[in-house]
């Protein structure tokens, strides 16, 4: 059952559900953060429109810094500005930042503990026709291993807006993962959000799906279908904050359902699934399966074709959920 305390979009399961790119929420959140705090600055690497920094740049031209196509310079200039008391948000495509500039982030942002917020847009295979080079799938793993780095992957534009505002007042390094294509609006302004907290969007007793980003919607669809066609009662947890992961919520859910499936539009190694597996191994091991890109690169195609091909939609999740239920009952 959908958790009524989450105040989700009532149209969520309708085929006409409103859609918006997750990155647009980042753009609104950044503008709002800029309005409420004059120390917020924005830096971009020649992708101002598509990473949704354009509104901030227009409203606060004196606080917007164009870096050009130079992602290593992007994060290190930002680190220097943070050392002078600014709160820099930096953006590019995730493949290039944090894809290209990892060591600079490690030393000048994490080891230095500077207040830089890295926005990686166009994450996942749903980037589509641009192909493998532009479809970032390793960013969660790359950012998650860095000490002091917070990692956030919002499930819709509304959550992205809330997360961006929250990050502006959170002290320390953070990464926010954004997607290119329009995706369904799942939450509302009333849906609770807190850095470090996972949300139980749907309550169930047979199986838990822990998802982040674009996969949260498919997890909810899969849960509905598993209820109506298979009489299975599935719990869906939105782990928008992948690090620090909300151990309490995830372990409590695993205790209740006894099986956990994870879902992310990212490499299966080292991402959200890895993080959940680590937590469960430490606290409460249960049968588990991970849905993601299975140690391979993406390719050109439409977003829909690619998501379906790689099993990153509701049918893909249902298949894996049914296998997992079998494993659980054999135990």
């Amino acid at each position: 059952m959908i958790n009524s305390q989450m105040h989700l979009n009532p149209e969520l399961l309708s085929p006409e559900v409103k859609q918006e790119p997750i990155r647009s929420g980042f753009g609104r959140g950044l503008l709002a953060a800029g309005e409420s705090n004059k120390d917020v600055v924005a830096l971009c690497a020649d992708l101002t429109d598509s990473t949704k920094m354009a509104d901030f740049a227009k409203s606060f031209p004196e606080r917007f810094v164009e870096i050009g196509v130079a992602e290593q310079n992007l994060v290190t200039v930002a680190a220097g500005m943070a050392l002078a008391g600014k709160i820099p948000f930096v953006s590019s495509y995730a493949a290039f930042s944090p894809g290209r500039n990892w060591e600079q982030i490690r030393t000048t942002i994490c080891l230095n503990e500077t207040d830089v917020k890295i926005a990686g847009s166009h994450a996942g295979v749903s980037v589509g026709p641009d192909g493998a080079t532009h479809q970032m799938l390793e960013d969660i793993a790359l950012m998650r291993v860095l000490p002091r780095m917070m990692v956030v992957a919002p499930c819709d534009a509304i959550e992205a807006e809330k997360a961006t505002k929250a990050l502006a007042s959170h002290k320390g390094p953070a990464y926010i993962r954004l997607a290119r294509e329009k995706s369904p609006i799942i939450t509302t302004d009333e849906t609770p959000f807190a850095l470090g907290k996972a949300q139980v969007l749907r309550e169930g007793t047979d199986l838990t799906i822990v998802a982040c980003g674009t996969m949260v919607y498919y997890a909810l669809l899969a849960a509905e279908e598993l209820a109506s066609s298979h009489k299975l009662d599935v719990e869906v947890v939105n782990a928008a904050v992948i690090k620090p992961l909300d151990t309490v919520t995830i372990v409590a859910s695993a205790r209740k359902t006894g099986a956990v499936l994870t879902a992310e539009e990212a490499q299966i190694n080292g991402g959200l699934g890895g993080a959940v597996a680590e937590v469960l191994a430490d606290h409460y091991p249960v049968p588990m399966a991970r849905v993601g890109m299975v140690d391979r690169f993406g390719e050109s195609g439409t977003p829909e074709e690619l998501l379906e091909h790689f099993g990153l939609t509701a049918p893909g999740l249902i298949e894996r959920a049914l296998e997992l239920i079998k494993r659980k009952s054999h135990k």
Binding site: V69, A70, T133, H134, E299, L306
Partner: protein, 282 residues
């Protein structure tokens, strides 16, 4: 030939529904010169060990490379229709493992020149006389990786390396001189120890002569700074950075026809060379 290639590019982009217009149109003359005059290559034997190598660092302009390769006989023209489609060998950004004849995978900017330099060094170690060509863009000169390669190639006196820069003065966020001024690229390369040649990148004879001249330079790598017009051949696209990453039919810009007409207008203009010759369909 370059004009046919420009028409191929427009058709491919329209069919794909996404992709880059300005860079590929601007580089059609240079690709034509390379594949039909300059490169020592065998389209039917793309892994021929003695072939000249062409590294494309600014991978987003790959539609011009695909179209030229098809015209040169690497694969059927028909296949150009599959650009950016699921299962295609013609990925949105070039992938070496998918299509024979591509020397490397690119798209993320700034890393092609280092690979070309490393390749040139390795060929020299092996006594292989093939030349290495590398095409880069002006925008990607914002990347430090490019300048690291510029130092490296000069240090190693890579005389078997010819670099061609697409100096079209645009990138995504605007004119290069506003986004991140590059200033006098020729003076910069010269100061780094390179032999610099500047040409009009639409003058076929100048392109071929510059490539010949580059081969004759001793002790230094050579760079050809090719001044090009982004969107060359399609009036409403020329010089306008908004057409960097958009195909015809997707954008309203000052002076452009309505979206539904854009592909037709572009093809007509190319077919008639801007009204100077009658179209075969008229």
């Amino acid at each position: 030939m370059a004009n046919d290639i420009r028409q191929d590019i427009i058709k491919m982009l329209v069919e794909a529904g996404s992709g880059h217009s300005a860079g590929p149109l601007g580089m059609a003359d240079i690709f034509t010169a390379l594949y039909f005059e300059v490169l020592n290559h065998r389209p039917k034997q793309p892994d021929w060990p003695e072939r000249d190598r062409l590294f494309l660092s600014n991978g987003h302009i790959v539609p011009v490379r695909y179209a030229t390769m098809a015209r040169a006989g690497y694969f059927p023209l028909e296949e150009l229709k599959t650009l950016r489609k699921f299962g295609s060998r013609l990925q949105g950004h070039p992938e070496r493992l998918r299509l024979p004849g591509l020397e490397s995978t690119s798209g993320p900017l700034g890393s092609g020149l280092s690979q070309a330099a490393g390749h040139a060094l390795a060929l020299r170690m092996d006594g292989n006389k093939a030349r290495v060509y590398c095409i880069t863009s002006d925008g990607e000169h914002d990347e430090g990786n490019i300048w690291e390669a510029v130092l490296f190639a000069a240090k190693n006196k890579l005389t078997n390396l010819t670099v061609i820069i697409d100096r079209n003065n645009i990138q995504i966020d605007g004119p290069t001189e506003q986004v991140m001024p590059l200033g006098n690229l020729a003076a910069k390369y010269a100061a780094f120890g390179w032999h610099v040649i500047e040409i009009d990148g639409h003058n076929m004879q100048a392109i071929i002569s510059a490539c010949d001249l580059a081969k004759a330079i001793v002790e230094q790598p050579a760079v050809i700074i090719a001044h090009t017009i982004p969107g060359k051949g399609v009036d409403y696209m020329e010089y306008d950075y908004h057409w960097h990453g958009n195909p015809p039919g997707t954008l309203e810009t000052p002076g452009a026809p309505p979206k539904a007409e854009q592909a037709k207008v572009a093809l007509h203009e190319l077919r008639t060379l801007g009204g100077r010759i009658r179209s075969e369909h008229e």
